[in-house]
């Protein structure tokens, strides 16, 4: 019995000893590979928030590792490499799996000299598709909150609550500008932007047009509305007609005063410049989205000595309006102005909702920074989404 045991030990150890001795001359000077720590806490699970066909494998970092090899057990029971991960990574994804089939994994830590530490195999994991992307929960909450905010204020505005909007510099001048045109016996020129009906700037501009047309109707001052877009033109005509009716002067509305010019931007600018030079309107309103040709309009208007009140949400054109016009509504001020003058619940409510959004932004930025600087706590994870 004992001799059998000795035989066994010799049989097992002998070749190993021989082998080790046989290797040693070749590996002279190089230490033999050390047994390498195997990765622990290896877990395989369905990749969350995806369309299926992927399993995520996670493990605890192994010190001194060169890279990791992730192996999946095949049908024959053997493990084969599916992917690798760098030394700083502690997770990997196998995106070549079938849904609803259990797979086992193991992670092999590979050292700088090729030494390996093999983890124990994981519990089986199955992949499957999900119906909701949890990584975007924050985005979903933000959308719902914003919708709630805007609809709440629209409801309040419709109920007739007094929603305060601060005064806007350029708007104070509207009455004065229309009055001046009346005194001088000249017309008012209103350019509703060079954009399309789907632009928010155009919608805001048409709201403003309605208010300004009411004033020209009251004062009996002629108004001139050249259009670049045929669809905007048809709506603008309705708007001015409606404004004259609302001011109690439907008879004073001249359908010829709202007209279509030409679609090409430069040609439009040339034609309207011609109108400015010939008719010398006392006041020019340039409201709405504008493109490159805005410069020509603003310059010609400035040369004719008209009071110019401009407003646009096209940020690249704003600098030229600011230096060439008397008053400029900057970006959002254009939206605010149309809500301010029209008191239209839809616009007012939306404006209020946006304001609350901005307030929230300001609070988040301030509090987030203070917290981060004071406590070292990084609060930016709240704003993390999948891509960033």
């Amino acid at each position: 019995m004992r001799s059998m045991l000795i035989c066994c030990v010799l049989l097992l150890v002998g070749p190993a000893w021989l082998a080790a001795n046989a290797q040693s001359p070749d590996a002279a000077g190089v230490p033999p590979p050390l047994p390498f720590t195997a990765p622990t806490q290896v877990v395989a699970k369905d990749t969350p928030s995806d369309g299926g066909h992927a399993i995520t494998i996670e493990w605890a970092a192994v010190p001194g590792v060169d890279h990791y090899r992730i192996e999946r057990q095949g049908e024959d029971g053997d493990f084969a490499e599916v992917t690798t991960a760098g030394r700083l990574e502690t997770s990997a994804e196998d995106s070549g799996v079938e849904n609803d089939i259990p797979y086992r994994y193991r992670v092999v830590a590979v050292g700088p000299a090729g030494e390996e530490g093999v983890s124990s195999e994981t519990a089986p994991a199955m992949s499957g598709p999900q119906w909701f992307n949890l990584e975007l929960l924050g985005v979903a909450i933000a959308i719902v909150a914003f919708v709630a905010l805007v609809s709440w204020y629209i409801r309040r505005a419709r109920r007739g609550d007094d929603l305060f909007v601060r005064r806007i510099a350029g708007l104070e001048a509207v009455d004065e500008a229309v009055g001046r045109a009346t005194e001088m016996g000249r017309s008012v020129l209103y350019i509703p932007g060079t954009g399309y009906i789907s632009d928010i700037g155009t919608i805001a501009s048409l709201n403003l047009l309605s208010e300004i047309a009411k004033r020209t109707a009251e004062y009996g001052t002629p108004i001139n509305v050249p259009n670049r877009d045929p669809v905007v033109f048809t709506v603008a005509r309705e708007v001015v007609k409606g404004a004259y009716a609302a001011a109690g002067r439907p008879d004073a509305f001249n359908p010829e005063s709202v007209y279509f010019v030409v679609e090409n931007g430069l040609a439009y600018a040339a034609a309207v410049s011609g109108i400015m030079v010939r008719e010398k309107p006392a006041t020019n309103f340039l409201m709405g989205p504008f493109y490159a040709e805005s410069l020509i309009l603003a310059e010609t208007g400035a040369m004719t000595g008209a009071i110019q009140i401009a407003g646009t949400d096209s940020t690249s054109q704003l600098p030229f309006f600011i230096v060439a016009c008397d008053y400029t509504l900057i970006g959002e001020e254009l939206y605010a102005a149309s809500a301010y003058l029209s008191r239209e619940p839809l616009m007012l409510g939306a404006l209020k909702g946006q304001d609350m959004g901005k307030l929230f932004f300001m609070v988040l930025l301030t509090v987030g920074t203070l917290l981060a600087l004071a406590t070292g706590l990084d609060v930016r994870w709240i704003l993390s989404t999948s891509g960033y």
Binding site: S49, D50, G51, G52, P129, Q130, W131, F132, N133, L136, V139, A140, I143, F146, V147, V150, S151, I154, I197, S198, I200, I203, L206, P230, V231, T234, V235, E238, V239, G242, E263, L266, A292, E293, L295, I296, A298, E299, A302, M303, D313, T315, P319, F320, I322, V323, A324, D326, G331, E332, Y335, L346, A350, G353, Q354, G357, K358, F361
Partner: protein, 219 residues
């Protein structure tokens, strides 16, 4: 009906588009891929017809009634017809049956594009450089301290943008770069956040069916 059917479709498509990002499930992905790649692609291709039809109708109308400037409408219609015929029959890369060259003189659609469209389009926009100069001289005024600040910032950036600025002093391009990367970034970020909220509010109003100006009526 005339408002409700399009509005209903808009809301349905809006909900599909809005939820598409949140649903990773292949069923949702597949449906959205179909909506995008087939439905939207074909519809958007036809959208060109709307603009084209408007344009051609107006210019044929102008021609018929000999409205002022009607000879130019001939140039427009002729340009359109010739290019479209060569493109449709000769093929965009010469694959069609119509021959597109006489000896060394090629008149395939790409040549027409390169030799006619590029000079016209590029020159049309280059005119703006000249108007910019005239506006700089005649109407860019520091009417307020804010406008003055704008012009000073503009001067620094303009000098920093051209090699001359670096020749005057190497610090000018650095200041200009700092203006772009710090104050400009702050201002643009603030404006963008505000405008984004405005756009989102309008988009949501459109999707909720309470903003209907897109239907093309004033109310």
């Amino acid at each position: 009906m005339r408002d409700k059917l399009p509005l209903g479709l808009l809301i349905l498509m809006g909900v599909l588009g809005l939820t598409s990002r949140f649903i990773p499930h292949p069923v949702g992905e597949g449906m959205n891929a179909y909506l995008r790649d087939t439905l939207l692609r074909i519809i958007s291709a036809f959208a060109l017809i709307l603009g084209l039809g408007n344009l051609l109708l107006r210019h044929t109308h102008k021609l018929e009634h000999k409205e002022p400037g009607w000879p130019h409408s001939i140039a427009l219609i002729a340009g359109f017809v010739v290019t479209a015929v060569i493109g449709l029959l000769g093929g965009v890369s010469g694959e069609g049956p119509l021959p597109t060259a006489i000896g060394s003189f090629k008149f395939d659609i790409t040549t027409i594009y390169n030799r006619v469209l590029i000079p016209l389009g590029a020159t049309m926009f280059s005119l703006l450089a000249f108007y910019m100069a005239s506006a700089a001289y005649r109407s860019f005024r520091a009417k307020s301290w804010l406008a003055a600040l704008l012009l000073i910032s503009a001067f620094v950036v303009m000098l920093g943008q051209v090699p001359l600025g670096g020749q005057i002093s190497p610090i000018i391009p650095q200041i200009s770069q700092w203006i772009m990367e710090v104050p400009n970034t702050a201002a643009k970020r603030g404006i963008e956040l505000g405008i984004t909220l405005g756009v989102l509010a309008t988009t949501l109003k459109i999707l909720a069916g309470i903003e209907r100006s897109w239907l093309g009526s004033s109310k």
